[in-house]
C-alpha cells in the first residue's frame, strides 16, 4: 500500500538526515518504525506526509508511492484527501478549540456532506468514549492521554486508509499507552486502517505491530516480522533492555560492550 524506496532527505540543503531508507506497509498492516532519538523516524514520516517542506527539508533521492502512485509532489492537503494522514509527535491538538471542534477540523478535506461527517464523529466517540465526555472542553486543558486520543480521532475524521502515527506513547503512563495501542489495534482490525507507527517504546510497539524496521542514524539497519525482532538477541539487548546472558556486572565492560553486528 505504501512503498518508500531508498529516500534521502536533506534539511536546509546541507544536513543529510535520511541516507537511503526503504520500507513498505502492506494494506491492513501495522508496521513499526523503531529507533533512538534522532534516528530519523519522524523525518521518515514527515517525508511521507509531505510536511517536510515547511521545515526546509526535502526528499532529494528515491521515491514514495501510496497505492501505486508517487506522492512526493502532492501537497499535504491532497495527500489527506487521498487517504494518508499523519498524527504528529507530541499530539499537537488545537489548544483553544474544543475537543469536538478539534475532531471536526479533521474533516476539513472531506466533501461528502455533513451527515456522513456526523456519523463518523459518532464513531470516533465510540472508539474514544473519553472524548465524548470532554467534547466541550478546550483541548489545551485536557490530559495528555485525552489529547493523544483527540489527535488520533481527528485523523480518523478524514476517513484515512493509512495513518502515520508518530510516537503515540510519548509522555503517557504505561497503562494509557496500552489503552491507546489497544485502540490502534481495534481500528486496524475493524476499520481496516493501516498504520505506520514510529516508536521509541520498542517493547509495546513490537507487541502490536506485524512488522518492524529499525532505524539508526538515517539508515534501516534491520527489519523483520515483529515476532522475529522481539526474539532477536541484538534487539533485546539494545532496544528491549534485556541482556542476552542475564545480569552482568559493570566490571565486565568488555563483555558488556556487545558489538552492534549489523554495523560491521
Amino acid at each position: 500500500m505504501l512503498e518508500v524506496n531508498n529516500i534521502e532527505v536533506v534539511y536546509s540543503h546541507v544536513i543529510l538526515v535520511l541516507k537511503g531508507v526503504s520500507l513498505s506497509v502492506p494494506a491492513g498492516g501495522i508496521v513499526a518504525l523503531l529507533g533512538a532519538n534522532g534516528a530519523g523516524k519522524t523525518t521518515t514520516l514527515k517525508a511521507i506526509s509531505n510536511l517536510l517542506h515547511s521545515e526546509r527539508g526535502e526528499v532529494t533521492k528515491g521515491n514514495i508511492q501510496f497505492e501505486g502512485s508517487e506522492i512526493q509532489n502532492l501537497s499535504p492537503t491532497e495527500l489527506v484527501s487521498s487517504g494518508c494522514i499523519q498524527v504528529m509527535e507530541g499530539r499537537h491538538c488545537f489548544g483553544h478549540l474544543s475537543i469536538e471542534e478539534n475532531l471536526m477540523t479533521g474533516a476539513y478535506t472531506r466533501k461528502d456532506g455533513s451527515a456522513a461527517i456526523k456519523q463518523d464523529l459518532e464513531k470516533v466517540y465510540e472508539y474514544f468514549p473519553r472524548l465524548r465526555e470532554r467534547k466541550r472542553s478546550q483541548a489545551g486543558y485536557t490530559s495528555g492521554g485525552e489529547q493523544q486520543m483527540c489527535a488520533i480521532g481527528r485523523a480518523l475524521m478524514s476517513r484515512p486508509k493509512m495513518i502515520l502515527l508518530d510516537e503515540p506513547s510519548m509522555g503517557l503512563a504505561p497503562q494509557l499507552v496500552e489503552e491507546i495501542f489497544e485502540i490502534v489495534k481495534n481500528l486496524n482490525e475493524k476499520e481496516g486502517v493501516s498504520f505506520l507507527l514510529a516508536e521509541q517504546n520498542t517493547n509495546v510497539a513490537l507487541r502490536y505491530a506485524t512488522y518492524g524496521y529499525i532505524l539508526e542514524s538515517g539508515r534501516v539497519v534491520m527489519d523483520g516480522d515483529a515476532k522475529e525482532l522481539r526474539e532477536n538477541e541484538d534487539v533485546k539487548e539494545f532496544y528491549l533492555g534485556v541482556g542476552g546472558e542475564g545480569r552482568r556486572s559493570f566490571r565486565d565492560v568488555k563483555h558488556y560492550r556487545r558489538r552492534k553486528r549489523w554495523l560491521a
Binding site: L51, H53, S54, S75, M88, H92, F94, H96, G140
Partner: protein, 333 residues
Amino acid sequence: MSPAFLNFVEIVLNGLMTGVMYSLVALGFVLIFKASGIFNFAQGVMALFAALTLVGLQTGQVPFSHLINAIFGTEIHHWGGGMHTVFAILITMAVMIILAFLIEKIVLKHLVNQEPIILFMATIGLAYFLEGAGDLMWGADVKVLNVGLPSGGSFWWEDVTREWASTGSEYWGMYIDKLDVTATVIALILVTVLTAFSQYTATGRALRAVADDHQAAMSVGISLRTIWVIVWSIAGFVALVAGIMWGSKSGIQFSLSLIALKALPVLILGGFTSIPGAIIGGLIIGVGEKLAEAYVGPLVGGAIENWFAYMLALAFLLFRPQGLFGDKIIERI
C-alpha cells in the same frame, strides 16, 4: 441635569465613537495576527490603498495617469464621469482580494515557518510598497471621499439634549457627528458577522485551527495558503471599511496610513487575538484619551490625546501582557 454632567456625557459619547474608528483598524490586525501570527504593519496602508482605489474609481481617475503622461507625453486624467459608488466599492473589494492573493503568492509563500520578526519585516516592506503603489496609481493629492454616508452634526440630538439641561443654565446641546454614529453601527455589524463566521463555519474553524498550530493544521489537510488568502482578503475588506470611514471623516491623504499606529495601543489593551477585544480596547482608548484631554489636559497644557493611548498601553504591557481579552496562554505542567 447640570451642564457639567452633560458635558461629561458628551465627551464620553464622542470618545466611544472615536474609539470605534480605532477599532476598525485594529480589527484588521487581529484577523491576520490570529490566523498567521503575523503582525501586519501594512494594515493602515491597506486602508489607505483601499480608500484611494475607491475614490479613484468613483471619480473616474485613470490609474497610473501621471506615469503614462510622463512616458507618452499624453494628457489623460479621467475617463468619463466615474462610476456608481456601489460598483466602485465592489471593484475595490475585488482589488483587495487580488492583492491578498498576490501577497500570498509573492511574499508569504516563501516565508512559511520563518521567525515572526522576518514576517513582520516583510509586512513593513509591503507597507512601503503599497504606499508607493497608491501614490503612483492615484496621485498624492488629498482627495475627498463621499460615499453618501450621513455626516455633520445631528440637530435632532442637539435639541433633545438641550431640553435635558436644568432650566436657566446656558447649555446648547450635545454635538454628535452622524458619521460617527454610522461608523459605530457598521462596526457592530462587522464584528457580529466576523465572530459568527469564525465560530460557526468550517472555514472559520480552520482559521482558528491555523491560528493555534500551523503544523498540526497542515497535518490534517488544511491548506495554509488558502487560509492565508482568505484571511488577507477579509483583512482587506476590513481595511476598505476602515478606509471609507476614515476617508469620509478626514479626507483621503497619505497620513491616513499612520492611524495604524493608533491601533497598536488598542491591540495591546484588547489583546492581539480577540475580535471583541479590539472593539473594547478601541472604546477604552477613545474614551480615555478624550476624558484625559478634557479634564487633565488643561492642567498640563493639553495635547494629552496624542500620547495617552501609548501610556495606557505601556501600563498594560507591564501588568497584563496578553491584554484584556487575549487568548489565555494555556500551559500544561
